[in-house]
């Protein structure tokens, strides 16, 4: 236990004292969240209405110029379109087949759209249904994304790259010459990075939440658990890279090769909805995607752990597989 604690302490101090990396890993996510919050704050002056069904020529409202109509295909589930209404991404939804329209009780835009619809020709034959829901801003979706990104970079570089550097410059060889076991060494590295990433994630969330007041419908404990699983999955993946590579340039290249698609395809900054099916398949194979789906479901939909089964199972299996692979591949030199 003594060597573990001493190595944990040394690695953590190395991180905290490396001022450049330390401040970068704390400030960069903050800047991103605040930057995007301001950049995407402006709302469009258009009203947005989702249209289900084949259309209705007798409904004058559908020709209203101030409204942008988004037509959904037959395959789109009505529920997912109504979710957009609940989250204020749409101001109303019309189903021309059943002659029904939905408005959001808590949206001022919805009230205006209701007037536009019912006061025009053909509108009187439609029945109203109501949904409720607070608006979801871009930044509410973004904050788990930025935390996920920070988790990914922090673990893959903090573990993968750093251990390869230790191997190249002989620190690993020096440790191999002591009674310390590879497992003790790797555990100390992993636990140090785990604590750092979890604390950074909490700092980023709380630091931006003070000003931006994110939507949080679920339990903080569940969110923390999902963060723990996400972090473990990234540490495990980092260890796979750390297990064999002998030079930093190669490790750096491979880690970038893996982080770039994860950055683009995990839904960190934008949703992959509407992208080609193949990309969505790739996205579903990435651990950060599942971390984000779970974190967003907790924050924005109030989901409990039971509803997150598939995402949690994926993260757990991915983590176990990577730890196993890393243990099998690991070499001091």
């Amino acid at each position: 236990m003594k060597p573990f604690i001493a190595m944990f302490k040394a690695r953590t101090m190395e991180y905290v004292r490396d001022r450049g990396s330390f401040y970068w890993s704390l400030l960069f996510p903050l800047v991103l969240v605040f930057g995007f919050a301001f950049a995407f704050n402006g709302s469009s002056s258009l009203f947005k209405v989702g249209v289900l069904g084949a259309g209705d020529p007798s409904l004058a409202f559908l020709k209203t110029e101030q409204v942008q109509f988004l037509t959904y295909t037959a395959e789109t589930k009505a529920d997912s379109v109504l979710d957009k209404l609940r989250h204020h991404s749409l101001d109303a939804v019309i189903d021309t087949a059943t002659k029904t329209y939905w408005v959001n009780k808590e949206s001022k835009n919805s009230s205006v759209v209701r007037l536009l619809l019912t006061r025009q020709e053909g509108g009187e034959s439609y029945t109203e249904q109501q949904v409720t829901g607070q608006p979801i801003r871009y930044v509410d979706q973004l904050v788990p994304g930025v935390i996920g990104m920070n988790m990914m970079f922090g673990c893959l570089f903090g573990i993968g790259f750093v251990i390869v550097r230790y191997r190249k410059n002989g620190v690993l060889k020096r440790l191999k010459a002591t009674p310390v076991s590879a497992l003790e060494f790797v555990l100390a590295q992993g636990v140090s990075r785990f604590v750092i990433v979890i604390l950074t994630s909490i700092f980023v969330y709380e630091g931006t939440n003070l000003f931006l007041h994110f939507m949080m419908k679920g339990s903080y404990l569940d969110l923390l658990l999902v963060m723990v699983l996400g972090t473990l999955s990234m540490i495990a993946l980092g260890l796979v890279f750390a297990s064999r590579f002998k030079n930093e340039e190669l490790a750096n290249g491979v880690i970038n090769l893996v982080t770039s698609p994860m950055l683009l395809l995990s839904g960190i900054f934008f949703s992959l909805e509407g992208s080609p099916v193949a990309l969505q398949w790739v996205s579903q194979a990435l651990p950060i995607t599942h971390f984000l789906q779970a974190a967003r479901a907790i924050m924005l939909e109030g989901a409990g752990l039971a509803q997150l089964g598939p995402d949690l199972a994926f993260l757990t299996l991915f983590t176990a597989a990577c730890f196993g692979l890393a243990a099998w591949l690991f070499q001091w030199e």
Partner: protein, 282 residues
């Protein structure tokens, strides 16, 4: 010096593909001596010492430590200073010593390590900010943290200035005085002469000679070495002379110009050149 060897290597071989880095070496190291492994670059010194340390697995042969094959306990009983090692970054000398002390069941006290390796003035310094000599002192400190019974030092003074080298020799002297066995590889003959009780000269993966330095010199040289510098008409010449009077008379008789002629007592460097045919610091 006692007769019981602390370490024995038997038929040690290491092949890297077609290259025979070490080609069957056998020797014993008695308890408490300073054993020097000398040889030109690429002779197989580092590979040999790393097989003895248990860092490199031999292709053939075995290493016997205190009468038994090297086992689990070995790591706790050896101290190692590699040729090139980085120290963990952003932590101080004192913190690094504490880190390494935590690895061993019965480490030396901090005060003792600081005293032996003269680290007092650099304890709070970041590892990255150490000078060459300070770094070597620090690496030696890490090698002796565990109160090892045998210490391996792989070219510990390469790159140090003469003063730092001499300071380092003093430190090695202190460790040796405690009864610790030392295995040392070096490029410097004066270092081997100063520190080693036994030396092995290696080249092309084989041990060429192994004995106490003065016995080796006695075996290979008689008397003095006379060097005659090159002239326009003749190449330089080195003559081993048992009787100086006779040699000088003979040279005069041949009409050799004695200007620039030098006479010296053969040393390890001469022995080395004689055995390997190359200069040490290639």
């Amino acid at each position: 010096m006692t007769a019981i060897p602390i370490m024995r290597v038997e038929g040690l071989k290491k092949r890297y593909g077609p290259v025979h880095a070490v080609d069957g070496v056998t020797f014993e190291i008695p308890q408490g001596v300073c054993f020097g492994l000398l040889g030109p670059n690429g002779a197989g010194k580092t590979t040999t010492i790393e097989m003895m340390e248990g860092i490199v697995t031999p292709t053939e042969g075995k290493v016997i430590f205190q009468g038994h094959p090297v086992g689990e306990d070995f790591r706790k009983k050896v101290g190692i200073q590699f040729q090139s090692t980085s120290l963990p970054e952003f932590i101080t000398v004192k913190e690094t010593l504490e880190l390494f002390r935590s690895f061993y069941p019965n480490p030396r006290s901090m005060e003792q390590i600081i005293e032996i390796c003269s680290l007092d003035d650099i304890l709070k310094r970041d590892n990255q900010k150490l000078s060459g000599g300070q770094r070597q002192r620090m690496l030696l400190a890490l090698a002796i943290v565990s109160r090892p019974e045998i210490v391996f030092l792989d070219e510990p003074t390469t790159g140090l200035d003469p003063q730092a080298r001499r300071n380092f020799w003093d430190l090695i002297g202190k460790i040796k005085a405690e009864g610790t066995t030392i295995v040392l590889t070096t490029h410097y003959m004066d270092e081997a002469e100063q520190l080693c009780d036994l030396i092995a000269i290696m080249d092309h993966g084989k041990i060429l000679e192994l004995d106490e330095p003065h016995k080796l010199l006695h075996k290979h040289f008689e008397g003095a070495l006379v060097r005659v510098p090159a002239t326009d008409s003749a190449a330089a010449e080195e003559i081993q002379s048992a009787n100086l009077d006779l040699t000088l008379k003979e040279l005069l008789g041949r009409g050799v110009n004695l200007e620039g002629l030098s006479i010296h007592k053969p040393d390890l460097e001469d022995l080395f050149i004689k055995l390997t045919g190359s200069s040490l610091r290639v």
